[in-house]
Amino acid sequence: MTVAAGPIEAAVVWLNDPLNWTNPGGILDRTGEHLAISAAAVLLGCLVAWPIGLWLGHTGRGGGLVVLVANLTLAVPTLALLTILPLTFLGFGRPPVVVALAVFAIPPLLANAYTGVRAVDPEARDAARGMGFSRWQLLRRVELPLAVPYLAAGFRTAAVQVVATAALASFVNGGGLGQIIRAGFGLDIAAGGGQILAGGLLVAGLAMLVELVLALVERLVTPRPLRNRGRRAGRRAAAAVSGA
């Protein structure tokens, strides 16, 4: 391969080499790994965060806990979790990477599930109670459906964040598209510049794609009357608080 003039040209050259796509450990392989790790992490995050968030929102307690979890995970470096978890009982390989990423998926999922249930119109809740709904029925048939827009928003935030963070799995050889960037840095910057830039474009492109697709999904799962309702409900809540 000839050394191209600038990093951008080198990146284009690198991306145009079909072997870089189809080789073992090539772009296709790495994209598959990246998506598999991310999907597993988001799924795990949902399984943990949604039940807790919905329940806390339903009971109306634990708002402080939600904020605390969010702040704590903000302060813990991803790199630390990625390096610590393989040394625990999880062992090396994919499980610790998935768990590490899931930890960072939990705050947006938790916060949105909590807020989603809290934001349910108290009148709807009272009406359901008046109709003789049990607590469980209230949660499942009134609060949960009305919280779907929030759940979807949380899902999107979490998924995009996980796809972005999954690039760091390459630090512990966890696979994914970050591996291409790391390999580029492993070369000399002059020789690897193109590959580094190409890897960056792929990672960023994937994150943007996930963001776009999930934005569409979010729109689709939000029933038409509920679209833009978040904002209106927020205003109504503010008005109620200030006594207006």
Partner: protein
């Protein structure tokens, strides 16, 4: 159970060791100092750019949309990708790390500062105008002080996430405490070193956060008085 067994079978690799801290005190201190200085520089630079940007978006409403859109897109770009974009141009070193963390901190501060500025009540603004404040006088004596809680929230969020983000600088060999964590992992998974780096990171974030919260309390005495009443 297997965890406990492996722990016992491997007494040479504890999760924390004062011996390690004593023996490597200089290295740890150097990493901590680098991390602190990178964070401080990044947040300072980001603030100096972000607050004027937020004011510009506040004065010229047409700018608010584009500024928020650009910062939103920037925020979806993974940190490693941003390193990858900048490293071929800025080289392997501090400049790359600093630029990346400044960019992320910038977004957070701009968004929060703008939110703080737009929350200044219209009555207050009109009253200030009626009292003869000009644009700049109003900015420094009315708008910015009232937006201070928002700006400080942004600063705190930006600082805490910057402390965590600096560790990714490992990729260009300038990760501060991340360097410690990563070296510990590569050096036969030396747990004590990984743990020391991690704890110091979290501690540093906590100290910065508390310090900024304290500064916020000092700068906004009227909020305390109101909540006490």
């Amino acid at each position: 159970m297997s965890f406990r067994l492996s722990y016992r079978a491997d007494p040479g690799n504890p999760w924390f060791s004062w011996q390690y801290v004593r023996d490597n005190f200089d290295t740890i201190l150097a990493a901590l100092r680098e991390h602190t200085s990178l964070t401080l520089r990044a947040v300072l630079i980001a603030t100096l750019i972000a607050v004027p940007l937020a004011v510009a978006a506040y004065w010229f409403r047409g700018l608010a949309g584009p500024i928020l859109a650009v910062t939103g897109v920037l925020y979806t770009i993974p940190s490693l990708a941003l390193f990858a974009f900048l490293a071929p141009y800025l080289g392997i070193g501090v400049a790359t790390v600093l630029t990346v963390v400044v960019l992320y901190a910038l977004l957070v501060i701009v968004r929060n500062a703008l939110a703080g500025l737009t929350q200044v009540p219209a009555e207050v603004r009109e009253a200030a105008e009626g009292m003869g404040y000009g644009r700049w006088g109003r900015l420094f004596r009315i708008d910015l002080p009232l937006a201070l809680p928002g700006i400080l929230t942004g600063l705190r969020l930006a600082t805490v996430s910057t402390v965590a983000l600096v560790t990714v600088g490992v990729v260009v060999g300038q990760g501060g405490l991340g360097q410690l964590i990563f070296a510990g992992f590569q050096n036969n998974f030396y747990k004590a070193q990984i743990m020391t780096g991690t704890l110091l990171c979290v501690l540093l974030a906590l100290v910065f956060d508390l310090a900024l919260a304290g500064v916020g309390r000092l700068l906004t005495p009227w909020l305390r008085r109101r909540s006490a009443a």
